[in-house]
């Protein structure tokens, strides 16, 4: 390997790259949430946003040598797991009642 590659590998990945990745993932989640019609896809978009946030937590925790950020990630993961369980149950119940998962058609709460 030539010395530049070695140097590159020995260098740390800069902070901004992680944050950029996190932002891109989050934006993808938002966009997916807004434009997708299928409830399960919307749900997955939420998970994507949560994980994007987790990534930035970990990044900062590493950057500042702080353990708090990592602990927060555990909390988020826990909430996400609980939310997945409840959310999927709701999705199944909705599907049973309405025979559809299109978000636009689930509007019974409307006035």
């Amino acid at each position: 390997m030539n010395p530049t590659t070695t140097q590159l590998l020995q260098q740390e990945v800069p902070l901004s790259w992680y944050l950029l990745l996190s932002a891109v993932l989050f934006a993808l989640g938002v966009v997916g949430f807004l434009i997708k019609r299928n409830l399960i896809t919307v749900f997955m978009s939420i998970e994507l946003m949560l994980n994007a946030v987790n990534l930035s937590f970990v990044t900062f925790a590493h950057q500042w040598h702080e353990v708090k950020g990592q602990i927060f990630v555990f909390f988020v993961m826990m909430v996400a797991a609980a939310e997945a369980a409840v959310g999927l149950a709701i999705i199944i119940a909705v599907f049973r009642a309405r025979a559809t998962l299109a978000v636009d058609r689930i509007d019974l709460m409307k006035l």
Partner: protein, 646 residues
């Protein structure tokens, strides 16, 4: 010296009694209520008596002003202090108010002993004393107005004390509303005082008038007439006297204290207090005198034929108040106050005696059903006799001296004064007649009805009666010369009245008139008991006119009350109800519906639109936090100014 003299204690002691009995009285044992209720006026009286003793020892003490260190009202040029002032005038008045007030409190203990509203009654009575002392001690017109309105409130509460009875509740309302008309005059007078003097303090007004000796009539007349309107309301003079006879619906001790001895004299006191204004307006003084004389005669004629014992006394009160106004109208303020004091004694006495009669008759107030009571109520009979002799003006009872002083003062005022004197004399004749009529009908002759058992009169009622009877005998012995000399610093110095043959002759004439009244009453009601009925039958129109009180109530009802009611009904029904309230409801409903129609689009039920709003909100928040707005705005303003600069 001042350390022993706390003016604020005088009103605050009754106020404490009011708060205590008003808030806790219902739950406390009766003796505690009684103790507090009696202690309150006693403390006030002790403070007044102390002030009197101190001022006797050191005459330089008066006038004593006590001003609350912080200004009460301080807006731009309007500056009013909460100030109390004690001078000879207010001291005399306070002695009467707290002294007679205390006696009537004692009397009430016996009179009201088994009433359900015992504590309520005493708390109102204490409240009245609080406001009355504020009124008397007031150092400026606004503080006086506070007391003025307050006694009106207490009077309203006590007239309507038996509020379950419709006539009592109506009488309370009538008193309140009629007084409101007078208070309107008082208010306008105060505004004019502020506009022309820039101050409401009696001292300040007096000082400014003293600086301008040439200032007469004009606006001063208007101010004096406005104040007089207030006084006619409170003191039941023509044309606003109509509330006082109805005020007899209240408990009898209340009639004695408020509607005879003290509150109704507030108008006379006010005229005396603002005498510097009246002195500068001969026209206003003339109006005062004419109003007083007319009221005296008018009420006395009505009093001739009334059959309710308390109503006879009520019309006699109006008539005697007319005397006091007559005295003020001929600038004999000290004579007016003198009559106020003696009247407080004998009229309180007569009312309390009437209360004792009513108590003894088991609630009966009709003179036609009484008779022969002297055997059953000997003490009441004796004190009533004293009261009747005093009010009729027999020597040496109190009424003789004060009435004589007024008639003498009126007689000296030229031809118009002679006319006033003649009216006063006729009134004295009528007064003597109707008081002896009451005396004969109630106490002498044969009992005309057997009204159950006769209650014995308790000691707490007899004590005040006897003390007031003594005062009604001796109250006038001080004499008008010494009395007016004492009051001179407060009511202005008058030239010494030369007492001589004239006064003696006038006194004898007055005595003769009083005797004549007695003689006529004796003829009509003792010697030939049917004579009065024959007389009434002989002149049916005249009798009917008097018995119906000249139809004044009916006249006011037709010309003022009914049109006002119709107008109020129209305004309430169509303007307020339909136009304002209906329109407002329609408007508010419309706004709500319109905004609802717009805002409900937001709640589309579309999950993605909610999410989009959420994201947009988050983005906006982010933008707000991240962009350094201060710098951006600063740079924008630089650009702006740069453009403007070119």
């Amino acid at each position: 010296m001042n350390a022993y003299l706390h003016l604020w204690l005088i009103p605050l002691a009754p106020f404490a009694g009011f708060l205590f009995n008003g808030l806790l009285g219902r739950r406390l044992p009766k003796f505690l209520v009684t103790t507090v209720a009696l202690l309150a006026p006693l403390v006030a009286f002790a403070a007044v008596a102390n002030a009197w003793l101190l001022s006797q020892a050191n005459p330089a003490l008066l006038p004593l002003a006590e001003i609350c260190p912080n200004p009460w009202i301080n807006i731009a040029t309007l500056h009013v202090d909460f100030s109390l002032i004690l001078d000879q005038l207010s001291l005399v008045m306070l002695l009467v108010v707290t002294g007679v007030g205390f006696l009537i409190h004692v009397y009430s203990v016996g009179y009201m002993h088994d009433d359900e509203g015992y504590a309520r009654y005493f708390s109102f009575l204490n409240l009245f004393l609080f406001f009355m002392t504020v009124l008397v001690l007031a150092g400026n017109a606004l503080v006086m107005f506070v007391g003025w309105e307050g006694v009106g409130l207490a009077s309203y509460l006590l007239i309507g004390f038996y509020f379950q009875k419709k006539s009592a509740a109506d009488a309370g309302k009538k008193a309140f509303i009629v007084n409101r008309i007078g208070d309107f005059g008082f208010l306008i007078g105060m505004f004019l005082l502020l506009a022309n003097f820039g101050t409401l303090s009696f001292d300040g007004i007096g000082a400014q008038l003293a600086l301008n000796p040439a200032w007469q009539g004009g606006v001063l007349t208007v101010i004096a007439l406005c104040l007089l309107l207030g006084a006619t309301g409170k003191s039941a003079q023509l044309p606003l006297y109509i509330w006082l006879p109805d005020a007899m619906e209240g408990p009898t001790p209340v009639s004695a204290l408020i509607h005879a001895a003290t509150m109704v004299t507030a108008g006379v006191y006010m005229v005396a207090r603002t005498h510097v204004l009246f002195d500068r307006s001969p026209f206003a003084l003339g109006v005062v005198a004419v109003v007083g004389a007319a009221t005296a005669l008018f009420a006395a004629t009505i009093g001739l034929v009334q059959n309710d014992i308390k109503r006879v006394l009520a019309y006699s009160t109006i008539s005697q108040l007319g005397y006091m106004f007559l005295a003020c109208g001929v600038a004999a303020y000290s004579a007016g106050i003198f009559h106020l004091v003696t009247h407080a004694f004998f009229k309180a006495l007569l009312f309390l005696a009437a209360g004792s009669v009513i108590h003894g008759m088991g609630g009966e107030q009709d003179l036609r059903k009484m008779g022969g009571l002297w055997r059953k109520l000997p003490v009441t009979f004796a004190v009533t006799t004293v009261g009747v002799l005093a009010i009729a003006g027999f020597f040496p009872f109190a009424g003789f001296f004060s009435k004589d002083a007024i008639l003498y003062a009126a007689f000296q005022q030229g031809p118009s004064g002679k006319a006033l004197w003649a009216v006063g004399l006729v009134t004295a004749l009528l007064t003597s007649f109707y008081m002896f009529r009451l005396w004969y009908l109630a106490f002498l002759g044969k009992p005309r009805s057997e009204v159950g058992h006769h209650h014995a009169t308790p000691l707490s009622m007899l004590g005040p009666l006897v003390i007031l009877a003594l005062l009604s005998i001796c109250g006038g012995w001080i004499g008008i010369e010494r009395f007016s000399a004492y009051l001179a610093p407060a009511t202005g110095a008058r030239p010494a009245e030369a007492a001589g043959h004239l006064e003696l002759i006038l006194g004898l004439v007055a005595m003769g008139v009083a005797l004549l009244g007695w003689f006529v009453a004796d003829r009509l009601y003792r010697q030939r008991p049917t004579a009065a009925a024959d007389l009434a039958a002989a002149y049916p129109a005249g009798y009917k006119l008097l018995a119906n009180k000249y139809y004044v109530d009916e006249f006011y009802g037709a010309t003022i009350v009914r049109p006002l009611l119709a107008l109020s009904k129209f305004i309430l029904e169509w303007v307020v109800d339909v136009a304002i309230l209906g329109g407002l409801a329609w408007l508010l409903g419309g706004i709500a519906m319109l905004s609802g129609a717009i805002l409900q689009r937001w709640q589309s039920g579309n999950l993605r639109s909610y999410a989009a709003w959420l994201a947009a909100g988050a983005a906006a928040l982010l933008l707000y936090v991240l962009v350094p707005w201060a710098t951006v705005l600063a740079s924008l303003s630089i650009i702006h100014f740069g453009v403007a600069g070119h």
